[in-house]
C-alpha cells in the first residue's frame, strides 16, 4: 500500500509540474471563446514566415543529426572497441562541449572565427570577414550544435558496443576477421541504439534556442522566445511552439513504434565480463594522430581561444564581480535541482523498472517526451500556468526554476536509475522482504546502498544539466534571481569579448568542479565500491 501510494504521489507531482503546463498550452491553442476551434492553427499555417521557420528548423536539425551520426558512431566504435591510446581521455575531451551551455561553444568559435577573433590577428581582417559570415548563419549553427551534440551519438555507441556479449563477438571471430565482424554482427546489433541517439540529437537540435539566437539564425524556438519575452505575446509564442510539440511527439511515437522492439537484450554494462578489443596494430598511431588532431580542432582549439582571450586577472576579477551572485545561485539551484531530480529518478525509475502499476509505460514515455521537448516550450508553459497571484509563491521564487528542471530533466535521472536497478538482482529486495522489511526500509537500507554508484552518477548528470540550463531559466527566472548562464547570455549583448570569454571559462570550471570532486571520491573514498 505504502509503495503504491508513494509512487503514485511522485507520478502526480511529476504530472502537475511537467505535463500540466504542456496540456494547458495545447488546450488554449484549440479553445477559442469557450469553443473548440482550429482558427489559431489556420492563421498560423497561412503565414509564410511559419514555413520559412519550419524549413530552417528542420534543415538545422537534420544537418546536425547527419553530421553527428556520421562522425559520432565511428568514433564510438573506435573508442569502445579498439586499443586506441589515451582512449578515455579523448572521450572526456570530446564530451566536454556536451557538458556546457551550447552557446559557450558558439562564443568559443566566435573567439576564433569572428571579427576581432584570433584568426583575424593571424590572417587579417579580410579572411575573418568570410569566416565570420560562415559562423553567423546555418553553417555556424550546424558547426556548434554538431560539436555540442555529437558526443551523445559517440557515448551511446560506446555504451551499446560495450553491452554486446563477449560470446556473440567470439562466435563471429571464429569464422572471420574483425572488419567483417563489425559489419555483419556489431553494427547491425547496435544500429537501433545509434538511431535512437540520432533521434535524440535531432530533437535537441530542433529545440535549441541559445545558439541560433547568438548566431542569428531564425528557427521556431527563437521566434517563440522572442514573441514571449520581448513582445509579451503569449498566444503567438504558444502558436510557434505547438509545431515543436507535435514534431517531438510524432518523432518519439515513431521511435517507440519502430525501434523499441529492435533493441536487443544483450548484457548489462557492468556484468564484469571482459570486452574483446580490436588490436589496431600498425594503424594505431596513425588513427591516434588523426583523432587527436580532430579533437584539437573541435574542442581544444575553441576552449583555448576562450582562455587566451580572457587571460588577464583583472578580467576575471571584473567578471566575478559582476556575476558572483548569479554564480552562487546557479550552483545552489543546480545542487537542489540535482538532489530533487535524483529522488524523482529513484522513485520513478523504480516504478518503471518494476512495472509497479500499469502507468509505468506512460510515465517512461512522458519523461522522455519532456526531455526531448524544446526548453522554450516548457518555460513558456510553466510561466503561463503559474504566473497568477495565487501561485506567486512558486512563480515569484526560485521554485519555478526547480520546477523547470524537474519537468525537463527527470528522464536523465530515471534512465540512469533504471539501468542501475537492472544490475541489482531481484533477490536482494526479495530476501529483505522475506526478512520482514517494509518497502521504505528496503528502499533506503537495501536498494539505495546497492544503487549508490548509479545514484551518484544520476546526481552528477542532473547537476550538470541543471547548471547549464539556459532555455527554461531564461524564460522563468524571477526578477533579480537569474542564473549564471542567463547572466552570461544577457551580458553578451553589450560586453567586451574578453569579459564574456572569462565568464565562459568560469562556467567551464564550475562544470568540471563536481566531476573532479566525484572523481576524487571515487579514487580515495571508494564511492563506487
Amino acid at each position: 500500500m505504502s509503495r503504491r501510494f508513494t509512487l503514485f504521489l511522485f507520478v502526480i507531482i511529476f504530472a502537475v509540474i511537467g505535463l500540466l503546463p504542456i496540456l494547458q498550452m495545447f488546450i488554449n491553442s484549440v479553445v477559442v471563446d469557450n469553443h473548440i476551434s482550429f482558427v489559431n492553427y489556420q492563421m498560423f499555417l497561412s503565414s509564410s514566415r511559419v514555413w520559412i521557420l519550419l524549413k530552417n528548423s528542420l534543415t538545422l536539425s537534420l544537418l546536425t543529426t547527419i553530421l553527428a551520426t556520421a562522425v559520432g558512431a565511428p568514433l564510438g566504435l573506435l573508442f569502445g572497441k579498439t586499443n586506441l591510446p589515451l582512449n578515455n581521455f579523448l572521450v572526456f575531451l570530446f564530451m566536454l562541449p556536451l557538458l556546457l551551455p551550447p552557446y559557450i561553444t558558439a562564443v568559443a568559435w566566435f573567439a576564433i572565427l569572428g571579427r576581432g577573433g584570433i584568426l583575424s590577428g593571424v590572417l587579417g581582417a579580410s579572411v575573418t570577414e568570410k569566416t565570420s559570415s560562415f559562423l553567423f548563419g546555418l553553417p555556424g549553427c550546424v558547426l556548434v550544435l554538431f560539436t555540442t551534440l555529437m558526443p551523445i551519438v559517440m557515448l551511446l555507441t560506446i555504451t551499446y558496443v560495450k553491452t554486446i556479449s563477449l560470446h556473440l563477438e567470439e562466435a563471429a571471430r571464429l569464422v572471420t576477421r574483425w572488419r567483417t565482424v563489425a559489419r555483419g554482427i556489431i553494427i547491425p546489433m547496435i544500429l537501433p541504439g545509434i538511431l535512437l541517439s540520432s533521434i535524440l540529437v535531432f530533437l535537441l537540435a530542433l529545440g535549441e534556442v541559445s545558439v541560433p539566437m547568438f548566431l542569428r539564425y531564425d528557427v521556431f524556438p527563437v521566434e517563440s522566445f522572442t514573441q514571449f519575452s520581448a513582445f509579451y505575446n503569449y498566444s503567438t509564442g504558444t502558436a510557434f511552439v505547438i509545431p515543436l510539440i507535435l514534431i517531438t511527439f510524432f518523432v518519439l511515437l515513431g521511435e517507440r513504434r519502430f525501434l523499441r522492439d529492435k533493441t536487443y537484450q544483450l548484457k548489462t554494462t557492468d556484468s564484469g565480463e571482459e570486452t574483446l578489443l580490436v588490436k589496431l596494430g600498425n594503424t594505431k598511431w596513425l588513427l591516434f594522430t588523426v583523432v587527436s588532431i580532430f579533437c584539437f580542432a573541435l574542442v581544444i582549439m575553441p576552449i583555448t581561444a576562450l582562455v587566451i582571450q580572457s587571460a588577464s586577472v583583472s578580467t576575471y576579477l571584473k567578471a566575478l564581480e559582476r556575476s558572483y551572485d548569479s554564480l552562487l545561485r546557479s550552483i545552489c539551484y543546480a545542487g537542489i535541482g540535482a538532489t530533487i531530480l535524483t529522488v524523482f529518478g529513484y522513485f520513478l525509475g523504480y516504478l518503471i523498472h518494476k512495472k509497479t502499476f500499469s502507468l509505468w509505460r506512460a510515465v517512461d514515455s512522458f519523461t522522455i517526451f519532456l526531455f526531448a521537448l524544446p526548453s522554450t516550450v516548457i518555460g513558456i508553459g510553466l510561466a503561463h500556468l503559474w504566473n497568477r497571484p495565487a501561485t506567486n509563491f512558486i512563480y515569484g521564487t526560485a521554485a519555478i526554476i526547480i520546477f523547470g528542471y524537474i519537468a525537463q530533466y527527470t528522464a536523465l535521472a530515471s534512465r540512469i536509475t533504471i539501468s542501475t536497478f537492472a544490475q541489482i538482482p531481484p533477490s536482494m529486495e526479495e530476501s529483505a522482504q522475506m526478512a520482514g522489511a517494509g518497502w521504505f526500509r528496503r528502499m533506503f537500507l537495501i536498494i539505495a546502498p546497492l544503487a549508490k554508484r548509479g545514484l551518484a552518477v544520476a546526481w552528477l548528470v542532473s547537476y550538470i544539466f541543471c547548471l547549464k540550463d539556459t532555455g527554461i531559466s531564461m524564460i522563468v527566472y524571477p526578477p533579480g534571481q537569474d542564473t549564471f548562464p542567463v547572466r552570461t547570455f544577457t551580458l553578451m549583448a553589450n560586453s567586451p569579448t574578453h569579459f564574456i570569454a572569462a565568464l565562459c571559462v568560469i562556467m567551464i570550471l564550475i562544470t568540471l568542479l563536481p566531476m573532479g570532486v566525484l572523481g576524487f571520491l571515487y579514487r580515495v573514498k571508494g564511492l563506487y565500491k
Binding site: 556473440l168 562466435a171 571471430r173 569464422v175 546489433m189 536487443y264
Partner: protein
C-alpha cells in the same frame, strides 16, 4: 594422428594462474571431455585453443602447426577452422537461423549454391529445417541449442569446442541432445572437446576424460578409468551422483 596439442601451456590473469603447465594431446576424431569445477581453468583451455587469448608460456598446435606460443597468437581464430558452441549459445539475435549459419560461410567465400546445400544438410540432420527463417528469440531452448550446433558444424570444422552447452537444460532434453551430439560426431568425424562440470555429461559424451583442478590436469584416462578414480575418491558409485 594428433589433431590438437597443448605443450606446457600456462595462462595468468594478474597473479592468478588460470592454467598452469597444461599439456594435452587430442587425436583426430576423438571425443574428449574436460571435467572440472568452476574456476578450474577448463574454459580458459578452450579460449586458448580458439585463439581468443594467447598463452603466457607454452605452445598450442593444431594439426602439428603452431597456432600460439609464448604470449603470441600466430594463427588468428578465424584461420584455425574450429567450431564452438558457447554456454549461452551466442546466437546473433538480429539474424535468422539461416543468417546465423550463412555468416561464416559467406565470410569464408563459399559459393551460394554450396552454402544452400550445406545449410539444408545440417538443418536436416538437426531437424531444424522448418525454422530456417526464424530468429533465435522465437525458438525454444532446445531448438536454440540445435541451431548453435548447426552453426558450428556447417563450416565443417576440424574440431568442435563445446563450453557447457547443455548445462542450462532440463534432464530429459539434456539426455536427448547428448545422444544427438554423439551421433553427429560419429557421422561427421570431427574432433570434439567438451567442457563440463557434470560427471554424467562427461561420461555420456566422451571416450576420454581429462579432470582439471586449479589450472592443472589431475587425472586423465578413459571413461572407465576416470569413473573408477571418482568411485574410489567418493567411496560410492558416482554414476548416481554429480560432481
Amino acid at each position: 594422428m594428433k589433431n590438437i596439442e597443448f605443450k606446457n601451456v600456462s595462462k595468468y590473469y594478474n597473479l592468478y594462474s588460470a592454467v598452469k603447465d597444461f599439456s594435452l594431446a587430442v587425436e583426430k576424431g576423438e571425443r574428449l571431455a574436460i571435467l572440472g569445477h568452476s574456476g578450474s581453468g577448463k574454459t580458459t583451455v578452450l579460449r586458448l585453443l580458439a585463439g581468443f587469448i594467447a598463452p603466457d608460456s607454452g605452445t598450442i598446435l593444431i594439426d602439428d602447426k603452431v597456432v600460439a606460443s609464448d604470449g603470441r597468437i600466430i594463427k588468428e581464430p578465424e584461420m584455425r577452422n574450429l567450431g564452438m558452441v558457447f554456454q549461452d549459445l551466442a546466437l546473433w539475435p538480429h539474424l535468422t537461423v539461416k543468417g546465423n549459419m550463412e555468416f561464416g560461410l559467406k565470410a569464408r567465400g563459399i559459393p551460394a549454391e554450396e552454402r544452400e546445400k550445406r545449410i539444408n544438410d545440417i538443418l536436416q540432420m538437426t531437424q531444424m529445417e522448418k525454422y530456417i527463417h526464424v530468429k533465435p528469440a522465437e525458438l525454444s531452448g532446445g531448438q536454440q541449442q540445435r541451431v548453435a550446433f548447426a552453426r558450428a558444424l556447417v563450416l565443417h570444422p576440424e574440431a568442435l569446442l563445446m563450453d557447457e552447452p547443455l548445462s542450462n537444460l532440463d534432464f530429459e532434453l539434456n539426455l536427448r541432445l547428448t545422444k544427438e551430439i554423439i551421433n553427429l560426431q560419429k557421422n561427421m568425424g570431427f574432433t570434439l572437446l567438451y567442457v563440463t562440470h557434470s560427471l554424467q555429461e562427461a561420461f555420456a559424451i566422451a571416450t576420454r576424460v581429462v579432470v582439471m583442478k586449479e589450472g592443472m590436469v589431475v587425472r586423465e584416462g578413459t571413461v572407465k578409468e576416470v569413473k573408477s578414480y571418482f568411485n574410489e575418491k567418493f567411496g560410492h558409485d558416482i554414476d548416481r551422483s554429480e560432481a
